[in-house]
Subunit: 308 residues, 5 copies
């Protein structure tokens, strides 16, 4: 029973360093309402916690912090798709309530690591918040790496001699980058605020600064990838246009080549009564020779111009 | 009678928490002039309130606030069109004057909700302002969702194997995003100012901060959609170019294929006296066979190159 | 005589609220030099006032303000062209010197309005400055509306089923938007400064804040139009490319269609001695029928693929 | 001898307003080292002064200022090319050392103007710095005008009915704009600093503010030109694409037109024994008439569609 | 032994100016852990130092600074490729620990230069940090120059009359510019912080300001190159499109030219019984003449229109 646990923790006194951690998964409004009474959570924060698809943020309500962190997972098995969820946390002096939306971000390993590390556990709820943020950011880093890899592949494909239509893949990558950016960018300022406004114990400051540094790294990575993707799309368009023009030129050249024998043959197919060449003994082979000659000459010219 | 109502409210004293709410719909300058005298409204704010198409803002004139909020509605029935209006409000210590432009934003549900909720009503005019801003922002959120859906549809259409011309839809979406952005972006700073400059009672601060948070969410959503749309337009152009080039190639290939029999037949249609092949018993079937052979060979080559 | 007027005004004392207004139109350097001595104007400001094409600004020299405001006029009669000029003003405690460049911004209506309104006139030179800025900004607003209308027209034309080359009009609009932006953007900060640094009597503050608000409205309008224009140009390019590809496809399809009878007829035009079909009674009509059949079949296929 | 001159100036005392001006052109490291000892210049500034291609800046070393200003010249004689150099200056209380890189910025006229104007000369080294900055900025203004003119020409050429390939000129202009921007943008902040940090005598403040204003004018001009150039390049691409498609259409239309008589004539060139039309008295003229008729009809259809 | 060295240095006292410099190359976590104990380094900084691919930064942990600087090398031998590594440094009052990742940035020349220059060496660990940053930035400058050169080459190639496909080279350059930007941009703020927060002895301030100035130079250079590259890619696309359209036009023109004799000859190849021209004595040569005439006329028209 949560209320009982809280009573016990508070009875032990602040010096004991004990705290309550309540973990929920996509809770119903009623479940949260109960906890809100126990921990005196603000109505608006509770409302946000019930609904998924909040933006990353950190808000202060009296001495309770409310934080939202996006959780992402790269699914390499299906097509390149980033799955997203959220983890919200209410952090008080002697409690933390975590609300999870989405399936893919388990808190169990975090709890175990904390339980195994007395020093970390001694930091109280702020330590839990850091552990959550740290793991979420580690996921961002590995997604950023996976996107970089995907980008390198697209790049190779665009500049490979074989033709390929990479537009959709480029667009998918762009979309995932934007998703990642939306998870990362709004979280940087809150992490900075934690340090600057001293919302956590001083010993934790360096740790949140470290999270902020990693977020900045992901952000800069994403921005670089974004610029590259824009260039790749343009380069791809330029390559496709160039390849197309080459094909077109080649094929038109062949059509042009066949137009010559047709025209010459057409002339000697006319039915005039007086066409002296027709009576020449070697008229036919000479004409065929001329046709072949013209064709070879044209082929050679086209070749030289790189049209065939 | 408004003047009478004001007299009554002021007689009851500030402690009574009573206030006057005057609601107008696209009022004539004279109507407002009268109210301006009663409530001592600033000439410039009154002028703004008469004319539609103001930008979202919050201005302070002595102890009266003047706010403009854009009201949007997504009309799914017609083509994708965002209808826009405005709701202006003069907020004093014991009165609120709301001026509505456009048809689609009814204040009745807001009034009813307030009347049913004593706590909210106790906040006075600031509570009304919050209720209006909150509902306007809820509308922005649902429009953002509708635009996201429309964008997803366009995306599917662009990358579907069937060809389609999505340029106009993409442009329409872009236009609506810009409209939404123009409603959202200028409102963020005023909402922040309300909290920071303490223009409303302290208990309301969290509520306006919540509105600001939602506005930021819409803004980030709009920016992400905007980036995606830009990419979709480019991707669409690339797809159209690629598809066109494929068609072109295919058709030119067929023209080239037909040029071969024409050329060969042309040669055997010449009227030279001495063309030994013409007298061969199997000259004709062999020639036809040769023609068919060349055509099949070319067709196979074209096929292999992906031209047909 | 200006010097005499100044003497009279100063004799009347500051309390009288009298001031001198000198209006010049594209003055010669000598004319201004004389006034500069009378009013003790700064050399650098005088230099700026003589030359047209200054950027909008507000500078303070001791207790004289020097302001430059761009004046624009939309000439709907000719092609869409924005005519631009400038109006400079030296504002002292008891004088205002206005210098006008360009023909289209008459100060007469402003003078009449002021003379008719004792309250406004009582604000002194700052009132005149406001009246000028207000009218200039009203012109910006109406130009912004005119450009919006022109943009709507271009939009309709781009997405109309009839083809049109709108590139030049789009570019012209872009150019005018940039001109408008250059008039508007640099003026916002000076208007803010007037209010914040209290460069004008306190009663005038709201009025200059109002001007700033209108400038911001124009700026946001211009930025939205600018974004739309960029999209329109891209959409137009995409439309032209698509339309072109359709034409091209159609025409190549027809050429391909005519290649078939030519090839078949060519074969039966060969002069081989032994071509059994030639002797068939119904060889000719059957061949013509076959040709027509193949053509109809191809036409039907092309039609189904949307190529014809 | 410089050391002697310095001794004399210092002997005269600060009140005398005397100062030493040493002008160098692309000096060797040794020459500057000597002066550095005399004037106590900072090692790092001296190093910068020896090497060309510094960025515009203003640095303070104790009571010596070190400034770098880019000097540009537009060479209208050759192709549109902007020549660039630098002028560095060490400014102390009683000396100025100017270091010139590049050929085109002579300091002689500046010296003469200063010698002729006692008032200016009385400002000491700061007056010289202003004179240099002023002239450099005047050059920027005239280059900006020249680029504007070049841009207007390119614009006319792009939208002229005659075709032209303006890509290279557009790119050249872009490149020059970037060069100008790199000279202008980093100089604005230093000029502002001079005024705000009171690095020069108070009387000079207005003059440096004036330089800053001109720099801002150039910067805004460059930004407007830049935006226009981007649009021109896109418009040019659209125009070229449209013109190309028109040509292509026209030519394909003619090829299609000639395919008709070839096909019809081919049919009547077949060698079937039973082709009743061939024996008609007026078969030939009727066929020719039919061919002409079909061709005229197609030509008329093509014309109506704007294809020919 | 490091611990022993530290003991000796500390025994000598702060006045002696002695310090320990430990240099590591891609150390194992254990090696660093040992040093961390000796020098009391922060756990998070040590973790960062073990892993490569950190972003450039400067962090303060109590009285130890932790800095990360990217080291780049341009490999002109292979294809245009920028090799990147990192150099991390822990700087304390009497020690510096450098951690090198990547092969190409040797610290030996820096150590030798320091040992040879007593003045520099007297600056202690801050002097070493400056020497490292200075050399890294020198490398950036030379890479920026190399990229500028490569850009100039690409530019020449794009606008040369010979055709070339420069898309991949342009993209490669873009990629390298982004890499350079990522090394440069995040380092500017730390260098500024060093000066402003007085993290180093005062005499070193100018030196770090100089490094910041060079970084800004590289950044502005990179930004200018970036803008140019974007323009080059667009210009290249426009050139390719124009060249392609010219080829296409030329080839279609030739095909059109050959269609004329084919059509005319086809007509006189018809087998009508009554074709009076066929019996004319000079029918044949006149027809050939007509064909040649029409072809020459068409050729001349095409030529005049610039199609051939």
């Amino acid at each position: 029973d949560v209320a009982e646990a809280v009573r016990l923790v508070r009875a032990a006194g602040a010096g004991a360093g004990a705290f309550v951690w309540v973990g929920l998964h996509e809770p119903h409004a009623d479940e949260l309402a109960e906890l809100a009474t126990v921990f005196d959570l603000h109505k608006l924060a509770v409302e946000d916690a019930v609904h998924a698809h909040q933006r990353p943020k950190l808000e202060r309500y009296d001495d309770t912090l409310f934080s939202v962190v996006k959780t992402l997972r790269y699914r390499s098995d299906s097509s390149e798709v980033v799955e997203s969820g959220e983890i919200m946390a209410f952090i008080g002096p002697d409690f933390i309530v975590t609300v999870r939306h989405g399936e893919h971000f388990s808190l169990r390993p975090i709890r175990r690591a904390l339980e195994a590390d007395a020093e970390l556990l001694a930091q109280g709820p702020a330590g839990v918040l850091h552990a959550i943020a740290d793991r979420a950011v580690d996921d961002y880093l590995s997604i950023a790496d996976a996107l970089q890899e995907a980008l390198d592949e697209v790049e190779s494909s665009v500049f490979a001699p074989e033709r390929s239509n990479d537009v959709e893949r480029i667009y998918q990558l762009k979309r995932e980058l934007i998703e990642l950016k939306r998870a990362v960018a709004p979280l940087i300022q809150p992490m900075r605020d934690i340090v600057e406004r001293e919302l956590v114990p001083e010993e934790m400051s360096e740790y949140f600064r470290d999270v902020e540094d990693h977020l900045t790294r992901v952000k800069e990575h994403v921005e670089a990838c974004d610029e590259l993707l824009t260039s790749i799309l343009q380069a791809h368009l330029a390559q496709v246009t160039a390849a197309e023009s080459q094909d077109q030129r080649r094929m038109t050249a062949w059509v042009g080549l066949f137009a010559v024998p047709t025209a010459i043959a057409g002339i000697y197919g006319m039915n005039f009564d007086h066409m002296p060449e027709l009576n020449f003994r070697y008229g036919y082979p000479l004409t065929v020779l001329a046709i072949v000659g013209v064709c070879v000459f044209m082929w050679w010219r086209f070749r030289r111009n790189g049209w065939i």
